[in-house]
Protein backbone atom coordinates (compact mmCIF):
# COMPACT_ATOMS: atom_id res chain seq x y z
CA UNK A 1 0.00 0.00 0.00
CA UNK A 2 1.58 3.31 -1.03
CA UNK A 3 1.75 6.35 1.19
CA UNK A 4 -1.56 8.17 1.07
CA UNK A 5 -1.15 11.88 0.53
CA UNK A 6 -2.71 14.27 3.07
CA UNK A 7 -4.09 16.60 0.41
CA UNK A 8 -6.19 14.01 -1.39
CA UNK A 9 -9.23 11.93 -0.67
CA UNK A 10 -8.77 8.18 -0.66
CA UNK A 11 -11.08 5.25 -1.15
CA UNK A 12 -12.40 3.43 1.93
CA UNK A 13 -14.15 0.15 1.26
CA UNK A 14 -16.10 -1.34 4.12
CA UNK A 15 -19.39 -2.93 5.03
CA UNK A 16 -21.98 -0.57 6.45
CA UNK A 17 -25.19 -1.96 7.90
CA UNK A 18 -24.84 -5.10 5.83
CA UNK A 19 -24.03 -3.41 2.53
CA UNK A 20 -20.70 -2.93 0.78
CA UNK A 21 -19.82 0.73 0.68
CA UNK A 22 -17.10 2.57 -1.19
CA UNK A 23 -16.55 6.02 0.26
CA UNK A 24 -13.96 8.74 -0.20
CA UNK A 25 -12.22 10.33 2.74
CA UNK A 26 -9.27 12.51 3.55
CA UNK A 27 -6.84 10.81 5.92
CA UNK A 28 -7.85 13.13 8.71
CA UNK A 29 -11.54 12.38 8.44
CA UNK A 30 -13.12 10.69 11.47
CA UNK A 31 -15.51 7.79 11.03
CA UNK A 32 -18.23 9.88 12.70
CA UNK A 33 -17.88 12.57 10.01
CA UNK A 34 -17.68 10.02 7.21
CA UNK A 35 -20.98 8.53 8.37
CA UNK A 36 -22.74 11.82 8.92
CA UNK A 37 -21.38 14.12 6.25
CA UNK A 38 -20.29 11.87 3.40
CA UNK A 39 -22.79 9.05 3.69
CA UNK A 40 -25.64 11.01 5.25
CA UNK A 41 -26.38 8.69 8.16
CA UNK A 42 -26.97 11.25 10.89
CA UNK A 43 -28.26 8.79 13.49
CA UNK A 44 -24.75 8.60 14.91
CA UNK A 45 -24.41 11.67 17.10
CA UNK A 46 -21.31 13.66 17.99
CA UNK A 47 -21.07 15.19 21.44
CA UNK A 48 -17.53 15.74 22.61
CA UNK A 49 -15.39 14.43 19.78
CA UNK A 50 -12.73 13.15 22.14
CA UNK A 51 -14.03 9.90 23.46
CA UNK A 52 -15.74 11.02 26.64
CA UNK A 53 -19.50 11.08 26.02
CA UNK A 54 -20.21 7.95 23.97
CA UNK A 55 -22.84 9.59 21.75
CA UNK A 56 -20.94 8.51 18.62
CA UNK A 57 -20.78 4.82 19.56
CA UNK A 58 -21.22 2.43 16.61
CA UNK A 59 -20.30 -1.22 16.23
CA UNK A 60 -17.09 -2.13 14.44
CA UNK A 61 -16.78 -5.85 13.73
CA UNK A 62 -19.54 -6.47 16.25
CA UNK A 63 -17.98 -4.52 19.11
CA UNK A 64 -19.11 -1.13 20.37
CA UNK A 65 -16.56 1.56 19.55
CA UNK A 66 -16.25 5.34 19.43
CA UNK A 67 -16.68 6.63 15.87
CA UNK A 68 -15.05 9.93 16.89
CA UNK A 69 -11.89 8.07 17.97
CA UNK A 70 -11.67 6.11 14.74
CA UNK A 71 -10.22 7.43 11.51
CA UNK A 72 -12.28 6.58 8.46
CA UNK A 73 -9.19 4.88 7.00
CA UNK A 74 -9.04 2.53 10.00
CA UNK A 75 -12.30 0.79 9.08
CA UNK A 76 -11.10 -0.34 5.66
CA UNK A 77 -12.37 -3.91 5.32
CA UNK A 78 -14.36 -3.78 8.58
CA UNK A 79 -17.98 -4.36 9.29
CA UNK A 80 -19.61 -1.20 10.67
CA UNK A 81 -23.14 -1.03 12.10
CA UNK A 82 -24.95 2.13 13.08
CA UNK A 83 -28.22 2.84 14.85
CA UNK A 84 -29.97 2.94 11.46
CA UNK A 85 -29.50 -0.84 11.23
CA UNK A 86 -31.26 -1.72 14.48
CA UNK A 87 -34.70 -2.01 13.00
CA UNK A 88 -35.11 -3.51 9.54
CA UNK A 89 -38.16 -1.35 8.93
CA UNK A 90 -37.88 2.42 9.43
CA UNK A 91 -41.51 2.51 10.53
CA UNK A 92 -40.89 0.10 13.39
CA UNK A 93 -38.74 -0.03 16.47
CA UNK A 94 -36.40 -2.88 17.33
CA UNK A 95 -37.25 -4.69 20.60
CA UNK A 96 -34.48 -2.75 22.37
CA UNK A 97 -35.71 0.57 20.99
CA UNK A 98 -39.29 -0.33 21.93
CA UNK A 99 -38.14 -1.06 25.48
CA UNK A 100 -36.55 2.40 25.64
CA UNK A 101 -39.84 3.91 24.59
CA UNK A 102 -41.86 1.88 27.11
CA UNK A 103 -39.57 2.74 30.01
CA UNK A 104 -38.92 6.39 29.10
CA UNK A 105 -35.26 5.54 28.49
CA UNK A 106 -34.78 8.78 26.58
CA UNK A 107 -35.75 12.41 26.79
CA UNK A 108 -33.85 14.60 24.34
CA UNK A 109 -32.43 11.51 22.65
CA UNK A 110 -28.97 12.88 22.02
CA UNK A 111 -27.17 10.08 23.85
CA UNK A 112 -29.59 7.36 22.74
CA UNK A 113 -28.08 6.07 19.47
CA UNK A 114 -24.74 5.45 21.14
CA UNK A 115 -26.29 3.76 24.14
CA UNK A 116 -28.44 1.57 21.90
CA UNK A 117 -25.39 0.40 19.95
CA UNK A 118 -23.51 -0.53 23.13
CA UNK A 119 -26.48 -2.35 24.62
CA UNK A 120 -27.32 -4.10 21.36
CA UNK A 121 -23.80 -5.53 21.24
CA UNK A 122 -23.99 -6.53 24.91
CA UNK A 123 -27.32 -8.34 24.56
CA UNK A 124 -26.06 -10.19 21.51
CA UNK A 125 -22.83 -11.31 23.18
CA UNK A 126 -24.27 -11.98 26.62
CA UNK A 127 -27.95 -12.82 26.40
CA UNK A 128 -27.94 -13.39 30.17
CA UNK A 129 -26.60 -9.88 30.87
CA UNK A 130 -27.79 -8.49 34.19
CA UNK A 131 -27.70 -5.18 36.03
CA UNK A 132 -23.92 -5.24 36.55
CA UNK A 133 -23.09 -5.82 32.89
CA UNK A 134 -25.56 -3.21 31.76
CA UNK A 135 -24.14 -0.62 34.15
CA UNK A 136 -20.62 -1.49 33.06
CA UNK A 137 -21.56 -0.86 29.43
CA UNK A 138 -23.40 2.35 30.31
CA UNK A 139 -20.37 3.71 32.15
CA UNK A 140 -18.98 4.59 28.72
CA UNK A 141 -21.91 6.93 28.04
CA UNK A 142 -23.12 10.25 29.35
CA UNK A 143 -26.81 11.08 29.50
CA UNK A 144 -27.71 14.54 30.74
CA UNK A 145 -31.48 13.94 30.92
CA UNK A 146 -32.66 10.63 32.28
CA UNK A 147 -30.50 9.95 35.31
CA UNK A 148 -29.84 6.50 33.82
CA UNK A 149 -32.37 4.59 35.95
CA UNK A 150 -34.92 4.34 33.16
CA UNK A 151 -32.19 3.32 30.72
CA UNK A 152 -31.18 0.45 32.97
CA UNK A 153 -34.84 -0.57 33.31
CA UNK A 154 -35.29 -0.52 29.55
CA UNK A 155 -32.17 -2.62 29.02
CA UNK A 156 -33.21 -5.17 31.66
CA UNK A 157 -36.63 -5.43 30.12
CA UNK A 158 -35.23 -5.91 26.61
CA UNK A 159 -32.87 -8.58 27.90
CA UNK A 160 -35.70 -10.42 29.58
CA UNK A 161 -37.87 -10.23 26.50
CA UNK A 162 -35.05 -11.59 24.37
CA UNK A 163 -34.52 -14.53 26.75
CA UNK A 164 -38.21 -15.39 26.63
CA UNK A 165 -38.13 -15.44 22.87
CA UNK A 166 -35.16 -17.72 22.82
CA UNK A 167 -36.82 -20.36 25.00
CA UNK A 168 -40.28 -20.67 23.47
CA UNK A 169 -43.04 -21.79 25.84
CA UNK A 170 -40.82 -21.23 28.86
Amino acid sequence: MPRMNAAQRHVVDFTLNGRNVRAQAENRMLLSDLLRHEIGLTGTHVGCEHGVCGACTVQIDGKPARACLTLAQQVRGSDVRTVEALSPDPAELSPLQAAFRRHYGLQCGFCTPGILMSLDALLREQPDAGMEDIREHLSGHLCRCTGYATIVEAALSAAEEQRKEEIPNA
Binding site: M4, L30, P64, A65, R66, L71, Q74, E136, G140
Partner: protein, 275 residues
Protein backbone atom coordinates in the same frame (compact mmCIF):
# COMPACT_ATOMS: atom_id res chain seq x y z
CA UNK B 1 -12.17 19.81 16.77
CA UNK B 2 -10.84 17.90 13.80
CA UNK B 3 -7.33 16.59 13.25
CA UNK B 4 -4.89 18.60 11.16
CA UNK B 5 -3.97 16.83 7.94
CA UNK B 6 -1.38 14.09 7.72
CA UNK B 7 -0.14 11.47 5.29
CA UNK B 8 -1.23 7.93 6.04
CA UNK B 9 0.57 4.68 5.48
CA UNK B 10 -0.72 1.22 6.13
CA UNK B 11 2.26 -1.09 5.63
CA UNK B 12 2.07 -4.84 5.15
CA UNK B 13 5.50 -5.61 6.57
CA UNK B 14 7.56 -4.61 9.58
CA UNK B 15 10.47 -3.57 7.32
CA UNK B 16 8.24 -1.12 5.49
CA UNK B 17 6.95 0.20 8.83
CA UNK B 18 10.42 0.75 10.25
CA UNK B 19 11.65 2.38 7.05
CA UNK B 20 8.74 4.83 7.13
CA UNK B 21 9.38 5.65 10.79
CA UNK B 22 13.10 6.13 10.13
CA UNK B 23 12.37 8.47 7.26
CA UNK B 24 9.61 10.35 9.09
CA UNK B 25 11.67 10.89 12.26
CA UNK B 26 9.95 13.05 14.84
CA UNK B 27 7.18 13.89 12.37
CA UNK B 28 5.95 10.29 12.14
CA UNK B 29 3.69 8.54 14.65
CA UNK B 30 2.51 4.97 14.92
CA UNK B 31 -1.26 4.49 15.13
CA UNK B 32 -2.71 1.21 16.40
CA UNK B 33 -6.13 1.34 18.09
CA UNK B 34 -6.03 5.13 18.18
CA UNK B 35 -7.83 5.48 21.52
CA UNK B 36 -5.12 7.67 23.04
CA UNK B 37 -3.76 9.20 19.85
CA UNK B 38 -6.99 10.23 18.10
CA UNK B 39 -8.13 12.46 21.00
CA UNK B 40 -4.70 14.12 20.81
CA UNK B 41 -5.16 14.56 17.05
CA UNK B 42 -8.70 15.88 17.45
CA UNK B 43 -7.53 18.46 19.96
CA UNK B 44 -4.46 19.15 17.82
CA UNK B 45 -2.17 18.42 20.72
CA UNK B 46 -0.47 16.06 18.27
CA UNK B 47 0.14 17.16 14.68
CA UNK B 48 2.20 14.46 13.01
CA UNK B 49 3.01 14.72 9.31
CA UNK B 50 2.67 10.97 8.89
CA UNK B 51 0.65 8.26 10.62
CA UNK B 52 1.75 4.66 10.22
CA UNK B 53 -1.05 2.17 10.88
CA UNK B 54 0.41 -1.06 12.25
CA UNK B 55 -2.78 -3.06 12.63
CA UNK B 56 -2.25 -5.07 9.42
CA UNK B 57 1.02 -6.54 10.72
CA UNK B 58 -0.05 -10.02 11.77
CA UNK B 59 3.08 -10.88 13.81
CA UNK B 60 2.39 -7.94 16.13
CA UNK B 61 -1.11 -9.15 16.92
CA UNK B 62 -0.07 -12.01 19.19
CA UNK B 63 0.03 -12.77 22.88
CA UNK B 64 2.85 -15.23 23.52
CA UNK B 65 4.30 -16.98 26.52
CA UNK B 66 8.06 -17.01 26.33
CA UNK B 67 9.80 -18.54 29.34
CA UNK B 68 8.60 -16.62 32.38
CA UNK B 69 7.23 -13.71 30.36
CA UNK B 70 3.98 -12.90 28.65
CA UNK B 71 4.78 -10.97 25.50
CA UNK B 72 1.99 -8.74 24.22
CA UNK B 73 2.53 -7.50 20.66
CA UNK B 74 1.91 -3.92 19.58
CA UNK B 75 -1.26 -4.84 17.70
CA UNK B 76 -3.01 -6.62 20.59
CA UNK B 77 -6.16 -4.81 21.61
CA UNK B 78 -6.91 -4.36 25.31
CA UNK B 79 -10.12 -6.38 24.96
CA UNK B 80 -8.12 -9.25 23.44
CA UNK B 81 -5.79 -9.41 26.42
CA UNK B 82 -8.76 -9.05 28.76
CA UNK B 83 -10.36 -12.10 27.10
CA UNK B 84 -7.11 -14.11 26.98
CA UNK B 85 -7.90 -17.43 28.68
CA UNK B 86 -4.73 -17.48 30.84
CA UNK B 87 -5.09 -13.94 32.12
CA UNK B 88 -6.20 -14.64 35.67
CA UNK B 89 -3.63 -17.41 36.07
CA UNK B 90 -0.60 -15.72 34.48
CA UNK B 91 -1.35 -12.02 34.92
CA UNK B 92 -3.68 -11.73 37.93
CA UNK B 93 -2.67 -8.11 38.50
CA UNK B 94 -3.95 -7.19 35.06
CA UNK B 95 -7.12 -9.20 35.57
CA UNK B 96 -7.76 -7.01 38.64
CA UNK B 97 -6.87 -3.79 36.80
CA UNK B 98 -8.95 -4.31 33.65
CA UNK B 99 -12.34 -3.22 35.04
CA UNK B 100 -10.77 0.18 35.75
CA UNK B 101 -9.16 0.56 32.37
CA UNK B 102 -11.12 2.78 30.00
CA UNK B 103 -14.56 1.62 28.93
CA UNK B 104 -15.77 -1.45 27.06
CA UNK B 105 -16.06 0.82 24.03
CA UNK B 106 -12.42 2.00 24.18
CA UNK B 107 -10.92 -1.36 25.22
CA UNK B 108 -12.49 -2.88 22.09
CA UNK B 109 -10.15 -0.74 19.95
CA UNK B 110 -7.28 0.48 22.11
CA UNK B 111 -4.11 -1.57 22.33
CA UNK B 112 -2.03 -2.51 25.36
CA UNK B 113 1.16 -1.09 23.85
CA UNK B 114 -0.65 2.07 22.76
CA UNK B 115 -1.51 2.86 26.36
CA UNK B 116 2.13 2.26 27.33
CA UNK B 117 3.33 4.53 24.50
CA UNK B 118 0.91 7.27 25.52
CA UNK B 119 2.31 7.18 29.09
CA UNK B 120 -0.49 8.95 30.88
CA UNK B 121 0.65 9.27 34.51
CA UNK B 122 -2.64 7.91 35.84
CA UNK B 123 -3.08 5.02 33.38
CA UNK B 124 -3.50 1.48 34.67
CA UNK B 125 -1.44 -0.46 32.13
CA UNK B 126 1.81 1.51 32.59
CA UNK B 127 1.31 1.21 36.36
CA UNK B 128 0.86 -2.56 36.16
CA UNK B 129 3.88 -2.95 33.90
CA UNK B 130 6.11 -0.92 36.20
CA UNK B 131 4.90 -2.66 39.36
CA UNK B 132 5.49 -6.12 37.91
CA UNK B 133 8.98 -5.11 36.80
CA UNK B 134 8.16 -5.61 33.12
CA UNK B 135 10.05 -4.39 30.08
CA UNK B 136 9.28 -2.59 26.84
CA UNK B 137 10.61 -4.06 23.59
CA UNK B 138 11.59 -1.32 21.14
CA UNK B 139 12.49 -1.65 17.52
CA UNK B 140 13.90 0.68 14.90
CA UNK B 141 15.42 0.02 11.51
CA UNK B 142 18.86 -0.06 13.06
CA UNK B 143 18.35 -1.80 16.37
CA UNK B 144 16.23 -3.76 18.75
CA UNK B 145 16.41 -2.99 22.46
CA UNK B 146 14.63 -3.74 25.70
CA UNK B 147 14.12 -1.13 28.38
CA UNK B 148 12.90 -1.73 31.93
CA UNK B 149 9.44 -0.17 32.25
CA UNK B 150 10.63 1.90 35.20
CA UNK B 151 13.22 3.56 32.92
CA UNK B 152 10.89 3.80 29.94
CA UNK B 153 8.49 6.25 31.57
CA UNK B 154 10.37 9.47 32.10
CA UNK B 155 7.68 12.04 32.77
CA UNK B 156 4.23 13.35 31.93
CA UNK B 157 3.38 11.57 28.67
CA UNK B 158 7.09 11.31 27.99
CA UNK B 159 8.98 8.11 27.33
CA UNK B 160 12.38 6.88 26.30
CA UNK B 161 11.11 6.11 22.77
CA UNK B 162 13.63 7.49 20.29
CA UNK B 163 13.00 8.98 16.86
CA UNK B 164 12.30 6.30 14.30
CA UNK B 165 11.53 3.76 17.01
CA UNK B 166 8.33 1.91 17.81
CA UNK B 167 7.16 -0.35 20.61
CA UNK B 168 7.19 -3.87 19.24
CA UNK B 169 5.82 -5.56 22.36
CA UNK B 170 5.58 -5.23 26.11
CA UNK B 171 6.85 -8.03 28.33
CA UNK B 172 4.97 -8.81 31.54
CA UNK B 173 6.64 -11.18 34.01
CA UNK B 174 4.39 -14.19 34.50
CA UNK B 175 2.81 -14.67 37.95
CA UNK B 176 4.84 -16.88 40.26
CA UNK B 177 3.29 -19.25 42.76
CA UNK B 178 3.33 -17.95 46.31
CA UNK B 179 3.07 -14.35 45.14
CA UNK B 180 0.09 -12.12 45.86
CA UNK B 181 -1.18 -9.36 43.57
CA UNK B 182 -3.75 -6.63 44.13
CA UNK B 183 -5.05 -3.55 42.35
CA UNK B 184 -7.20 -0.73 43.72
CA UNK B 185 -8.22 2.61 42.38
CA UNK B 186 -10.16 5.71 43.32
CA UNK B 187 -11.71 7.51 40.37
CA UNK B 188 -14.95 9.35 39.68
CA UNK B 189 -16.30 6.46 37.64
CA UNK B 190 -14.84 3.20 36.37
CA UNK B 191 -13.06 4.13 33.18
CA UNK B 192 -12.26 7.69 34.15
CA UNK B 193 -8.69 8.62 34.81
CA UNK B 194 -7.59 7.50 38.24
CA UNK B 195 -7.26 10.07 40.98
CA UNK B 196 -4.95 7.53 42.59
CA UNK B 197 -4.39 3.91 41.51
CA UNK B 198 -2.32 1.40 43.47
CA UNK B 199 -0.90 -1.94 42.43
CA UNK B 200 0.84 -4.26 44.88
CA UNK B 201 2.96 -7.39 44.74
CA UNK B 202 3.76 -9.50 47.82
CA UNK B 203 6.31 -12.31 47.69
CA UNK B 204 9.16 -13.87 49.68
CA UNK B 205 11.40 -10.90 49.10
CA UNK B 206 8.82 -8.48 50.53
CA UNK B 207 6.26 -5.98 49.33
CA UNK B 208 6.19 -3.70 46.33
CA UNK B 209 3.78 -0.82 45.85
CA UNK B 210 3.14 0.90 42.51
CA UNK B 211 1.32 4.24 42.44
CA UNK B 212 -0.24 6.11 39.51
CA UNK B 213 -2.07 9.42 39.34
CA UNK B 214 0.16 11.28 41.77
CA UNK B 215 3.59 11.83 40.25
CA UNK B 216 4.21 12.62 36.57
CA UNK B 217 4.77 8.91 35.86
CA UNK B 218 3.95 5.61 37.54
CA UNK B 219 6.28 4.99 40.47
CA UNK B 220 7.14 1.78 42.30
CA UNK B 221 8.58 1.37 45.81
CA UNK B 222 9.75 -1.57 47.93
CA UNK B 223 8.28 -1.68 51.43
CA UNK B 224 9.02 -3.53 54.64
CA UNK B 225 6.54 -6.18 55.90
CA UNK B 226 3.09 -5.02 56.97
CA UNK B 227 3.59 -5.74 60.65
CA UNK B 228 6.98 -4.13 60.60
CA UNK B 229 7.28 -1.16 63.01
CA UNK B 230 8.64 0.93 60.20
CA UNK B 231 5.71 0.30 57.87
CA UNK B 232 3.64 3.41 58.59
CA UNK B 233 6.66 5.67 58.42
CA UNK B 234 7.72 4.08 55.16
CA UNK B 235 4.39 4.58 53.41
CA UNK B 236 4.16 8.12 54.76
CA UNK B 237 7.60 8.86 53.34
CA UNK B 238 6.47 7.54 49.97
CA UNK B 239 3.38 9.75 50.01
CA UNK B 240 5.55 12.82 50.64
CA UNK B 241 8.23 11.84 48.14
CA UNK B 242 5.74 11.86 45.25
CA UNK B 243 5.19 15.17 43.55
CA UNK B 244 1.49 15.38 44.36
CA UNK B 245 -0.35 18.21 42.60
CA UNK B 246 -3.68 19.95 43.09
CA UNK B 247 -6.06 19.78 40.16
CA UNK B 248 -9.81 20.03 39.61
CA UNK B 249 -10.28 16.39 40.62
CA UNK B 250 -8.41 16.33 43.91
CA UNK B 251 -6.01 18.25 46.09
CA UNK B 252 -2.41 17.16 46.61
CA UNK B 253 -3.20 16.53 50.26
CA UNK B 254 -6.10 14.22 49.40
CA UNK B 255 -3.86 12.35 46.98
CA UNK B 256 -1.23 11.80 49.69
CA UNK B 257 -3.93 10.57 52.03
CA UNK B 258 -5.12 8.14 49.36
CA UNK B 259 -1.58 6.87 48.89
CA UNK B 260 -1.41 6.05 52.62
CA UNK B 261 -4.85 4.47 52.90
CA UNK B 262 -5.40 2.89 49.51
CA UNK B 263 -1.73 1.88 49.38
CA UNK B 264 -2.04 0.10 52.70
CA UNK B 265 -5.29 -1.63 51.68
CA UNK B 266 -3.77 -2.78 48.40
CA UNK B 267 -0.68 -4.16 50.12
CA UNK B 268 -2.84 -5.99 52.66
CA UNK B 269 -4.90 -7.54 49.90
CA UNK B 270 -1.78 -8.65 48.02
CA UNK B 271 -0.41 -10.23 51.20
CA UNK B 272 -3.67 -12.06 51.80
CA UNK B 273 -3.64 -13.38 48.23
CA UNK B 274 -0.25 -15.02 48.72
CA UNK B 275 -1.11 -18.66 48.63
Amino acid sequence: MKPASFDFLCPETLEETLAALAEGGSEARVIAGGQSLVPMLNMRLARPALLVDIMRLAPLRQIETSGDEIVVGAGVRQAELEAWPNLSRDLPLLAAAFPWLGHVQTRARGTVCGSVAHADPSAELPLSLVTLGGTVGLRSRKQKRKVAADDFFIGMMATDLAEGEMIEAVHFPKARPGTGYAFREIGRRHGDFAIVACAAVADDSGLRLGIAGVDDRPRVFPLPGLDDDQFNDAINDIAWSLNARDDIHASARYRRELVRNLGCETLKEASRCRA
